[in-house]
Each structure stands twice: as C-alpha cells, then as structure tokens.
C-alpha cells in the first residue's frame, strides 16, 4: 500500500491563476418570453383599438369643423 501511495505526488502550481474569488457582479434582467394572447383577448384588444380610432377620427372631424365655422 505505501508503494502505491508514493506513485501520486502532490502538484502545486507555482504560476498562473491559483484561486478564484467569487466577486459579486451586477446582474442583468433576464430575457422575457412574451406570453401569447388568447384569440378572445386579441379580438377584444382589436375592438378596443378600432373604437379608439373611430373616436379619434370623430374628434378630428369635430375640431376641424370648429375651426372652419367661426
């Protein structure tokens, strides 16, 4: 047994990086998978957008009329 042990000798590196200290680094926020939307939600959002568009256009028309009248 002692002979086998002597075959392996301890190796200590004399140069290069000997140890790594764990330094706290700043963390980034993680990449975000976007949640898919259900068909209903997509349609509802589309309805909402369309309604907003119509109102916007109506307001535009109204304001242009107000400008021309006086």
């Amino acid at each position: 047994m002692p002979e086998v042990k002597s075959m392996f000798r301890e190796v200590l590196p004399k140069q290069g990086q000997l140890c790594v200290e764990d330094v706290p680094t700043m963390v980034m926020c993680k990449p975000k998978l976007l949640p898919l939307k259900s068909v209903t939600l997509t349609k509802l959002e589309k309805m909402q957008r369309d309604a907003q568009e119509t109102i916007k256009q109506q307001e535009m028309v109204q304001s242009s009329q107000d400008e021309t009248q006086p």
């Binding site: 926020c29 949640p35 898919l36 259900s38 309604a51």
Partner: protein, 455 residues
C-alpha cells in the same frame, strides 16, 4: 363580432381588487390565497432565472382576459400593469369590457335598440319557457342589462317550480355580475343538485377564485373531474389555479394531461413551452413553439419566443429572421420594445456590447417605462465605468419596478463600491424583500452588518 366565453371574460377592476371584501382572511395562511405576494416560497424556477410579474409570480406563458396579472398589493401597483404602463385596468369590471360589449352593437344601430327593455312585460314572457330563454340571453349578453335579466330569470325559475337547472345557472351568472358571490354560489350549487354540467362547475370555481379561496375552487374542479373525467376545460381551470398559486410543477403536469386530450390547446402548449425555457431546456421549448407555428399561430409574441429559444438552443441561423418577423408583426410600441429588449440579450450573448447598448436604448425609445431595459443599460454603463449614469438608470428602474430584485441589488453593489454603505444597506434590504433566497444579497448584507458592527 367577438364571441366571448362567459367563463373566460372576467377582468377584475382596480376597485374590486383593492376594495375587495369578499375574501375571508385578509392575512391568509401560506398556500391558501391567490392574493398574497408569493415571492416567499418558490416552486420551480427562481426569479434569478425567470422574470416575475409585479405580484411576485413568475411570468406566465399565456394571457387570458381574466388572469392577466394576479393581484397587486397596493393601489399604486394596481394602476400599473405588469407588462406595460399603457393598457391599465378598468376602474371596475362594471365599467370595463362588459359595458363595451353590451353597447358596441347598439351604437351601430341607427334606429335605437332592437328591443325596448323598459316596456317589456317580463312576467308574461317568463311563462313561455322557450321564448324566455332566448330573451334572457339577449338581455344578458347583448343588452348587458343584468338587473332586468335577473328579474326575468327570477320569474322564470319560479314559474318552473325551481326545478330547472338552466335558470338557476343564469341566476347565478347574474348574481356574479352584480358581485353577490355567496348568492351566486348558492344558485350554482342548487343547479348542480339537479344536473351535473361542466359549465356549472366552472362557474362555481370562478366564484371561489373571486372570493380568494383557490383550494375550494380546486376541490370543486376535482369534483367536476370525477363526474366528467379528463374534461379539457376543467383540467385547464385546475392548471390555471395552480399556476396562479405559483405552483408551476403541478400546473405543468395538468397542462400535459390536458394536451393528451386535446393536442391543439394553445394555452397548454405555450405554458409548457415557457416552463421548459425557464428550466434550462430551450431545445424542448423550441419544439413546443414550433408546434404552435405549425398550428397557425402567427404573431409577434410567437416569433419573439421562437427567436429566443433558437438563440439559447444554439440554432443561430434562425434567430435574426425570427426577430425581424416579430418586429414586422408587432402591433404596438410595447411589443416592439419587448422584441428589442430580447434582441439586446442576444447581442450581450454574442458579446457585441455596442449593439446591446443600442438595442436597450431602442427599447426605451419605444417604451419609456421598461424597467428591465433601464437595469440592463445600467449594467452596461458600469462596464464603461460611468458610475453616475448607472446610478441614475438604476434608480429609475427601481422606481418603475419595485418588485424586481435586480435593480435593488445592483444599486446595493454600486453603492458599496463607491463607499455609500448606508444606501447600499437600504437597497440590499429591498432586494432581499423581493427575492429572499438570493445568495449574493445575503452575502452583501452580512458583510455590511459586520462592517456596521465594527463601527
């Protein structure tokens, strides 16, 4: 025209959430409530890997009309929605989409409403069952006049000697809309005594979820599953509750069970996919998202997810085309911002920090409230040793998203580095509150405490 499933459509408004008096325990025991910030205990991926919504829940793979973001803790959080600051919630659900759905069709009719409800003799119609049912559906769904609908339903159920389960379910629906959850519960239970129906179980579960009793809701769904084994909608409802309670492992199991029954269920595929992505298996996530693409889902979100999965699964040929497609399909500025944000990560991954910097800047150009982008820009600024800029960016980020631990932790690190130990300690405590298990925060706090003790 949109047909909205009555079971699905339920968006809790701000008023309902913050002034909610239906939940039984204000300070519920852990694991019995949907409303508490569940950041304390994590089942599955931690916030170090998976982004969280403002209520401390992991980001879900799918948004539905009802469960968009969990319950916020404060009024301020309630007004701000997790993904964007622009699509805020309605003030109450009574002013939300219900109203719009009800009036949308009336506005387009130049001759006024089709039926003048105030002039109807409801008791007359209640006597003819066939007509009454149709009339009820018209009043409830089209006119959205819950009060009249309730009256008609009450008369009709009386007329049917309280033996018709259908009218009881309708009564329950009316009570639910009016916010009388206990009455709704009674009606649904009584309907179940006459006739087992999948819908009734789902409505009951919805009532319990609204009363903040997820465990009762789960047992209700279990009862339903006993009567209707492997019913897809019930399985889906169970999975959603598990997901909302932050129990992603069992949620995924239920979604898998669901996919065995219905292999084209978009919600299940998306949720399992995102779960795989955040548990370090982007290759498998990629397969799920590819399946969605094959099924004909074609939108910005899907291509963005495909791009990310491709990048992390090392399929570099597809990344940029996917993101380009996502950008071209984006419907509003917030979606564009999200895609640029993810492209920034790809740029960081390939080491092109200039490109990353530009991507995050573009994110902010499209969505000025993107807290994550502020944080990442700060990290990039710190690499260039621009301490002041980094500091300002981190403060903005922390103010925009107090639920994320990253900006707090980074601010603590930065302050520690420049010797402002007091701010560092305060920020580290905030970071600990957002993510208690974060080891580096603990180490920093320990270091600071030792330092203060020495003084």
């Amino acid at each position: 025209m949109v047909y909205v499933d009555e079971i699905d459509v339920d968006q809790e408004g701000i008023a309902e959430m913050t002034l909610d008096e239906n939940s039984i325990a204000q300070v519920a025991r852990p694991g019995t409530s949907l409303r508490q910030a569940t950041a304390k205990k994590h089942e599955g991926p931690s916030p170090a890997v998976r982004p969280v919504t403002q209520s401390g829940r992991p980001l879900t793979g799918f948004v539905r009309p009802g469960t968009q973001s969990g319950r916020p803790g404060t009024m301020e959080q309630a007004i701000r929605t997790p993904r964007t600051a622009h699509t805020a919630r309605p003030i109450t659900s009574a002013s939300g989409r219900y109203i719009r759905l009800g009036t949308a069709s009336m506005l387009t009719n130049p001759d006024g409403p089709f039926i003048n409800l105030s002039r109807l003799n409801l008791s007359k119609y209640a006597h003819s069952p066939n007509l009454a049912k149709t009339l009820f559906e018209y009043i409830f769904h089209h006119e959205n006049d819950v009060k009249n609908a309730l009256e008609l339903a009450a008369l009709a159920t009386e007329n049917a000697q309280f033996k018709d389960w259908w009218w009881k379910v309708q009564l329950g629906k009316c009570y639910y809309r009016l916010g009388l959850f206990r009455e709704a519960e009674n009606q649904f239970k009584s309907a179940l005594a006459h006739q087992d129906m999948v819908d009734t179980f789902l409505y009951l579960g919805k009532v319990y979820a609204r009363m903040d009793q997820p465990l009762t809701a789960l047992s209700m769904y279990k009862q339903g599953l006993d009567r209707f084994p492997k019913e897809v909608t019930l399985l889906c409802a169970v999975a959603r509750i598990h997901e909302e309670m932050n129990n992603l492992t069992s949620a995924t199991e239920y979604y898998k069970e669901l996919l065995k029954q219905d292999n084209t269920h978009v919600e299940a595929i998306a949720c399992i996919g995102s779960n795989h992505f955040y548990t370090d298996q982007p290759e498998i996530a990629l397969r799920f998202y590819r399946r969605l693409l094959q099924m004909g889902v074609y939108n910005c979100e899907l291509f963005n997810n495909l791009g990310l999965c491709c990048f992390y699964a090392q399929q570099y040929d597809m990344i940029l085309t996917s993101f380009e497609r996502a950008l071209s399909l984006a419907e509003n500025d917030e979606e564009v911002a999200e895609v640029w944000y993810n492209l920034g990560h790809v740029a960081v991954g390939i080491g092109d920090l200039n490109l990353a910097y530009q991507c995050f800047k573009l994110t902010l150009a499209n969505n000025n409230d993107h807290a994550e982008a502020y944080n990442n820009l700060a990290v990039l600024e710190m690499r260039k040793n621009h301490v002041e800029q980094a500091r300002a960016l981190l403060q903005t980020s922390a103010a925009l998203a107090p639920h994320m631990y990253e900006p707090h932790f980074n601010f603590a690190c930065l302050s520690d580095k420049i010797g402002d130990l007091q701010s560092s300690y305060v920020a580290a405590q905030k970071s600990e509150a957002a993510f208690p298990d974060h080891v580096e925060t603990q180490q920093l706090l320990e270091k600071l405490r030792q330092h203060f003790a020495m003084i």
